[in-house]
Symmetry: C2
Subunit: 326 residues, 2 copies
């Protein structure tokens, strides 16, 4: 798998309108190129680490199933956030690599289980048939379970050079963003809300903060703790991540109604078909875009106190989330 | 939920034939009464701790689903093994309580997922309808996921008074016995083997060592590490647990063909219906019983070097597993 199967990063996709106005064309091009290199390099390292973390061994079928979804060319946004947060607070990127792999394992697990016929019943994911379509529902459930457990095993056994109390703290944070205060809470409320017509913005925000923002928050917080951040820094980065988490979902909702399945690599328009409440449905596309812009701004405000050069990857990642096209 | 819904412990069920021959009737009764008290006390503490670990809060449905299966009156064998191992090596039982709860959460998660229609398709568990029968398949999958994550969160955030490096080690051990070297490996090979006629003893042992013994091993090893065991002690206890783990499954196979659904609190004879290979099918009931006796003896041999008074609960638990009636 090559990174080229991941999103292409156009200049407009990674710089805000304000930045585009302020900077000269030359500067814009330079920044975009630098970020593109950063993304390529990090995604490459993450993909190599993930490949090594789940080798093809006995029992073959379960490892094939895990690898099928884990190595399917995801954007690796969560691992990048984890590594970038670690580096921002002065840590080495390699220190956060096991945690970076772990958040991608959790993300993949949640996709496999959410795609199941008894859940969202999705046939297409990242441009390929979903896990249960290839390996059967039984193996898909188990592959998710195995990835969930492996995430914790990987952090506990592979994180090197940091005090054990940080590792324990990181494991507590990761676990929290998966269960009934995180992913699971978001998915269960999402399921219950399907077909209900009077879902309001607060309710929608609950779903997205749990279903999407929680793991992005976890990714950033894990990296920050492993990098040795002070508590105050961790909390700022937590707030940054919650903003970009919500941003991620607002953009996802917009893309679902404005792009084709081919462009997205997954079934487009499925929110409409499933009669799901989304931001465009509640406040319209225009207001949704404004809200996205506001969240992006709020996110970056949290990074103001940090070394701006070191914060550049997180700022660029926020821009990428805001202006991505799939 | 009262512990009285758990297995009644007859004298013959907790003492070996040898012990029954050696001891006077009075001694037998005294030992049995002491163990019964021990079991009642520990199960009570574990049940209280589990009740507190998963409170009924928003989102209600997922917490109801988790509590439904977690607080359904299981025998609490795994938590007891965990606490008993911790006490055996000189630790306080309370130190191991979060890990004891965690292994029960993992056990419950595996039951919920294994019972799913796409897996073993079971309607009855611990005498009640299975989780998905009450809450639907989607919520059952998520309840399992949430329990899996909570197990790690509980250990990481609730374990007190031990060095962090022990907690990290314990988390690595627990994770390993869930994934593709543990429960998941056992379940996936079990599924693949259904309907295959030429499954041999080695293959059957692989399934049981992973599907059943791994988590019993984990339970004992977690307790031992938290209690401060030396590496050599951990390995002896690991071997003890693998023996009783295999023993547990051999006895389960025997019970499946000799008891009724009512006696078991779950569907009896399902191995025969599913055309699963079992010990009775491969070597007959008589030989299966002999093998169980041998495993019980091997298990206890591992405890020879420990303080025999402190080892009494583990010895009694091994006897209970060997001679249980459901």
């Amino acid at each position: 798998m090559k990174f080229s199967s991941s999103p292409s990063l156009s200049i407009s996709a990674i710089l805000t309108k304000q930045q585009q106005t302020d900077a000269t064309n030359e500067e814009i091009k330079k920044q975009a190129m630098e970020f593109k290199e950063y993304v390529l390099e990090k995604a490459n390292s993450v993909n190599k680490a993930l490949e090594k973390a789940v080798l093809l061994k006995d029992p073959l079928k379960i490892h094939e199933s895990m690898r099928y979804s884990l190595l399917a060319g995801g954007k690796r946004i969560r691992p990048m956030l984890c590594i970038a947060a670690c580096e921002l607070v002065g840590g080495e990127g390699s220190t956060a690599m096991p945690a970076a792999c772990a958040v991608e394992m959790i993300h993949t697990m949640s996709l496999i289980h959410d795609d199941l016929p008894c859940m969202d019943n999705d046939d297409l994911r990242r441009g390929k048939p979903t896990n249960h379509k290839i390996y059967g529902e039984d193996v898909a459930v188990l592959a998710g379970d195995a990835l969930l457990a492996l995430a914790f095993e990987h952090i506990a056994t592979q994180t090197k050079g940091v005090p054990s109390d940080r590792i324990v703290r990181v494991i507590g944070e990761l676990a929290k963003c998966i269960g009934t205060e995180g992913l699971v809470a978001g998915q269960v409320v999402d399921i219950i809300s399907e077909g209900i017509s009077d879902v309001d913005l607060k309710h929608l925000e609950f779903i997205h903060l749990h279903k999407t923002a929680a793991l992005l928050e976890g990714s950033v917080v894990l990296g920050a703790i492993l990098g040795g951040a002070e508590d105050e820094e961790v909390e700022k980065l937590r707030k940054f991540a919650r903003c970009i988490g919500l941003l991620f979902q607002v953009v996802d909702d917009i893309l679902d109604v404005t792009k084709s399945s081919q462009q997205l690599g997954k079934t487009a328009g499925k929110d409409l078909v499933a009669d799901k409440v989304t931001y465009p449905k509640l406040i319209g596309i225009g207001k949704s875009r404004e809200f996205a812009e506001e969240l992006n701004k709020d996110a970056k405000a949290q990074l103001a106190g940090f070394d701006q050069e070191k914060a550049a990857p997180l700022i660029a990642l926020a821009n990428y989330i805001a202006y991505r096209e799939n």
